[in-house]
C-alpha cells in the first residue's frame, strides 16, 4: 500500500494531520519520559551494582527517546520541548498509567523500599509494547517519526533483551523469586488497560496513515507477552486489565502528580535559564 509521506512542512500546513501526529507524539514522549524517570529512581538502589550501571544507560536512553519526541512536537509548534516535558500538568499527560506507578513504597530521598520484581515486570511489559508500536511506526506517513523509529526500536530491543533475561532468571531461580515475579507481573498487568488504548484518535491515526495498524496493537502485544510468560509460569492468566483510569485520555493517579513535581522541580526554578 502506497503511503503519502508527509514532511514537517506538509504537516504544518494541514491542521487535522498536525493535530493527529501531535496526539501520537505526546503518547510516545510522555511514555518514555515517565518510564525513564522511574528508572532513574533506581540509581544507587539497584539490587546489584551491574544493574545500577545498566539502569544508568537504560534511563538515559528512555529519556533520550522522550527528548527526541518532544523536539518533534516543538518543530510542529506545540511549544518548547523543555516546557512540554516539565511544565504540563498531570491532566494534560498522555502516558500509560503503568509507567507512572511508583517503583515501590517510599520516595527516593526518604526511605525508599522499591520492588525489583515490579520494576522488571513493568519494564518487560512496556518494552514489548514499545517494540510492537515502533515496528508499526516504521511505516508511518509522518516522515520525521518514521526516520527515528528504527533507531529507537533497535535501542528498545536491548532493553527488552535485558528484562527478558531478568524475567527468565527470576522465574527459574527459586520458588521465592518466581512467586515474587508472578505477583508483580499480575500487579503490572492489571495496570495495562490503557497501554494500547488510542486515546480516541484511532480514526485519524488510520485515515492519515500515521499509525495504520493501531487497531490491533493491543492484541499483538498481548500475544507476544503471553507466548513468553506462559512457559515460564508467570503469565497472569485470568487477570483482567482495568481501564478505570485511562492515561491516554489524561486520567492519572496522584503518583503522576508527585513524579512530575520531582522531575520538573529544578526546571521550574527558572524556566528561562540557559542550560
Amino acid at each position: 500500500m502506497e503511503t503519502n509521506l508527509m514532511t514537517l512542512e506538509d504537516a504544518l500546513g494541514q491542521v487535522p494531520y498536525r493535530s493527529a501526529v501531535g496526539a501520537l507524539l505526546f503518547q510516545l514522549a510522555d511514555d518514555d519520559l515517565l518510564i525513564g524517570f522511574r528508572d532513574t529512581e533506581w540509581l544507587g538502589l539497584a539490587p546489584h551494582i551491574e544493574e545500577d550501571v545498566a539502569f544508568g544507560s537504560v534511563s538515559q536512553e528512555e529519556l533520550g527517546h522522550a527528548t527526541y519526541y518532544y523536539h518533534l512536537l516543538e518543530d510542529l509548534g506545540f511549544g518548547r520541548a523543555d516546557d512540554l516535558s516539565a511544565l504540563r500538568p498531570a491532566q494534560d499527560r498522555r502516558n500509560a498509567v503503568l509507567l507512572e506507578m511508583p517503583n515501590g513504597p517510599g520516595v527516593f530521598l526518604d526511605d525508599p523500599h522499591y520492588n525489583w520484581a515490579f520494576t522488571v515486570a513493568r519494564h518487560y511489559l512496556y518494552d514489548v509494547y514499545a517494540m510492537v508500536r515502533l515496528g508499526d511506526l516504521l511505516e508511518s506517513s509522518y516522515q520525521p517519526l518514521r526516520d527515528v523509529a528504527i533507531k529507537v526500536l533497535r535501542e528498545k530491543r536491548y532493553h527488552r533483551t535485558h528484562h527478558e533475561l531478568w524475567v527468565k532468571t527470576m522465574a527459574s531461580h527459586s520458588d521465592d523469586a518466581r512467586k515474587a515475579l508472578a505477583y508483580a507481573m499480575t500487579e503490572a498487568y492489571q495496570a495495562t488497560g490503557d497501554l494500547a488504548h488510542d486515546g480516541g484518535h484511532r480514526e485519524s491515526f488510520e485515515v492519515f496513515s500515521i499509525w495504520p495498524r493501531v487497531g490491533t496493537v493491543g492484541q499483538r502485544w498481548h500475544e507476544e507477552v503471553k507466548a513468553f510468560l506462559e512457559p515460564l509460569g508467570v503469565y497472569p492468566s485470568g487477570v483482567a486489565h482495568s481501564l478505570a483510569i485511562n492515561g491516554r485520555n489524561g486520567e492519572h493517579t496522584e503518583h503522576l502528580v508527585s513524579a512530575l513535581q520531582i522531575l520538573s522541580e529544578v526546571y521550574r526554578l527558572d524556566p528561562t535559564a540557559q542550560w
Partner: protein, 151 residues
C-alpha cells in the same frame, strides 16, 4: 586539495569525546558534507538517540571548521540516514581497540579481548559505562573490557 577534501580532513580531527582515540569520520558519523563558495554544511548522525555527547560533537565540529575556514558553517545532527555500527571503518575499529574497547562483532558476543586478543570472554552486562557499550570479562588475561554493541 579541493575544499570538500579539506573539510573531510578537518572532520577527522574531531574525536568522540568519550572514546579518546576515535574520530567521528572513522566512527561513520558523517552523513553528508556540502561545500560551495559561501557555505559549509555538515550533517552528522547520532550513534544513539539520547547520546549526551551530541551537542559537544556539534560544537567541536563547528569550532574545527571555523578555525580553518571563513565561510558560513552549518552543522546539524539528523536522522535521515540511521547510524548503524557497521558504518565504523577499519580505522575506526582499530581506534576503538586502541581505546580499550572491543569493536562490534556480528553478534553481541562476537568479540575479542582488546588487550590479549582472546575470544574467551564472559558478558557481564549488556550495558556498560555508556549506551553504546557492553561489559565483558576476559577469562584469559582476567581484565574486564568494554565492547561496542552492534546496532
Amino acid at each position: 586539495m579541493d575544499r570538500l577534501h579539506e573539510v573531510e580532513e578537518i572532520l577527522k580531527t574531531v574525536r568522540d569525546p568519550e572514546i579518546p582515540m576515535a574520530n567521528i569520520v572513522d566512527l561513520g558519523m558523517v552523513d553528508a558534507v556540502d561545500v560551495d563558495d559561501e557555505h559549509i554544511f555538515v550533517r552528522l548522525m547520532p550513534t544513539f538517540v539520547g547520546c549526551p555527547a551530541q551537542r559537544v560533537i556539534i560544537r567541536d565540529v563547528e569550532k574545527a571548521l571555523r578555525d580553518h575556514f571563513v565561510l558560513a558553517i552549518s552543522v546539524e545532527m539528523g536522522m535521515l540516514t540511521p547510524w548503524t555500527s557497521d558504518r565504523i571503518t577499519e580505522e575506526g575499529r582499530a581506534e576503538l581497540k586502541a581505546s580499550g574497547i572491543a569493536p562490534p562483532g556480528a553478534t553481541l558476543d562476537d568479540v575479542a579481548c582488546p588487550f590479549c586478543g582472546s575470544e574467551e570472554a564472559v558478558r557481564e552486562n549488556l550495558f556498560a559505562s555508556t549506551s553504546c557499550r557492553s561489559l565483558f570479562y576476559c577469562k584469559a588475561c582476567r581484565n574486564p573490557f568494554e565492547a561496542f554493541k552492534p546496532i
